[in-house]
Symmetry: C2
Subunit: 286 residues, 2 copies
């Protein structure tokens, strides 16, 4: 985004001590791999009790921690922490296109502070006390975006993609419940909202990887052609590891993993899903 002019009140600084001096609220927005090191460099300069919100989405390699869990691990204490997630393509937010998002916090006043700070005529902010649920949505939706892309690449229809999104969200919800989240968070902006925006956008890198896999191309060739990383290629493994550790059944994520890491053909994915035993819609959720 080179066409957005930042307000003159925004100052950049390479010096963490200076950046945090007198800060009443802090926003962490590095790529997810940099959240731990950034937070560590913040720690000596951060006033006690100063609220911190993290916008980065992801599951940390190895520890399988969500981003607020990394912050808690480094800073100690969760009361001041919040996470923001929702259907917010940065290009659109930057251009003032109406968007909505969720701020999740353990303590209500922290969520309300960031709601007040971020809310504008074009950016509507909702609060939610379910931090784990909101963050897991943002960290795991890309797995389903890859599956939705495969369906498009295979030439399937609106019905197929809608079913993959819905059943995909159902398995993310089951994982969320196992981690202590609220199933209804997954029907909200960070869950359904972000999933819909990601899976219908032509700009989504994760969807694009799926489309190319659906067309029968090899993952290595697809990745070599892309300038930026498609998070879903890596995060599928983390999501599957979390699912295994918590004994949650995630048939779509498993199939995506088999295509990504084991060379299974995308066209066999939908067939495998359609032929599973007949089920009740809300099994594992209610």
């Amino acid at each position: 985004m080179t066409d957005i002019t930042l307000p003159a009140t925004v100052h950049a600084s390479p010096d963490m001590a200076e950046a945090l001096r007198g800060a009443e609220a802090v926003v962490v927005v590095t790529p997810s791999v940099g959240v731990r090191s950034t937070t560590e460099s913040m720690r000596p300069h951060l006033g006690s009790g100063v609220p911190v919100v993290v916008l980065s989405k992801g599951i940390e390699d190895g520890s399988l921690m969500l981003m607020t869990e990394v912050l808690e691990d480094v800073l100690g204490g969760r009361g001041r922490l919040a996470g923001l997630s929702g259907p917010n393509h940065a290009e659109e937010v930057g251009h003032g296109i109406p968007s909505a998002t969720v701020v999740a916090s353990y303590q209500e006043p922290v969520g309300k502070l960031f709601q007040e700070l971020f809310m504008t005529r074009f950016f509507r902010v909702y609060t939610n006390p379910d931090v784990v649920g909101v963050e897991l949505c943002g960290a795991s939706k890309n797995v389903i975006a890859v599956a939705a892309g495969m369906s498009d690449g295979l030439g399937y229809g609106d019905n197929t993609k809608a079913a993959l999104l819905t059943r995909g969200l159902a398995e993310l919800t089951r994982l969320g419940i196992a981690l202590g989240g609220n199933p209804l968070t997954f029907s909200g902006l960070a869950g359904m909202g972000d999933l819909v925006a990601t899976c219908t956008s032509t700009q989504s890198r994760n969807r694009t990887v799926g489309v190319e896999l659906g067309k029968g191309r090899k993952l290595d060739d697809i990745v070599a052609d892309m300038k930026m990383v498609a998070e879903g290629v890596k995060s599928t493994a983390a999501v599957l590891e979390l699912a295994q550790r918590n004994r949650v059944e995630m048939p779509i994520a498993e199939q995506v993993g088999a295509v990504l890491y084991e060379g299974k053909r995308a066209e066999d994915l939908v067939t495998a899903l359609m032929l599973r035993e007949a089920k009740a819609e809300l099994h594992g959720i209610t």
Copy 2:
């Protein structure tokens, strides 16, 4: 659909007595306005306890009944009844494109019977005991499809549409809870699934009405140009009447109603929604 060949085992008959003779299961699939009269003509010929599933979606004028409620009103007793709803564009189902759906029934064996009868390699059927929720989803999603179309017609982005779908589903969920439904049904195939399929399809008449309204055209002109009825133009009034009767707040449906029936400009709809007071995401749901 003129390019689908029905199996030779399908027989058409204009004689209801003949059509129902020896029937072990009945599928009602007329337009929603014809469900009451069709069911009345079925009644004298229908064996007691024969399961009946209705595929029609809608809210009956005047009575504000859902389709299974109409069947119950005519046939007496709900145990044998089921309703089917989901992201199932008929063209795609007819062409064997992978699709999934939900059968809702008051009694589990009835739902399982239709699950077994309808399930194929290309059509996956889930059961759900929440009849009111599943049917309300199918009857009310078009209101949100009109809103999503307006957003597209106004030139807004993926963020805006994803937010409208999600917040739209949240208000349908609040209405569903008031009518005795399960909020999680709305995250399922009949709710989120059908909403996604409808709002992203270029074939949806309801979405098209919204797009044209978003471009600033008058409703009368849009309707005059369309060969088939866009259900949302009428069902928005029924949904708003149900909401009022049950004291449920439905800000998006209200704005859609104001554009459809009171000549409000579509461009004022999103602004009105963005400027509402700050809220918690799950207010009215948990």
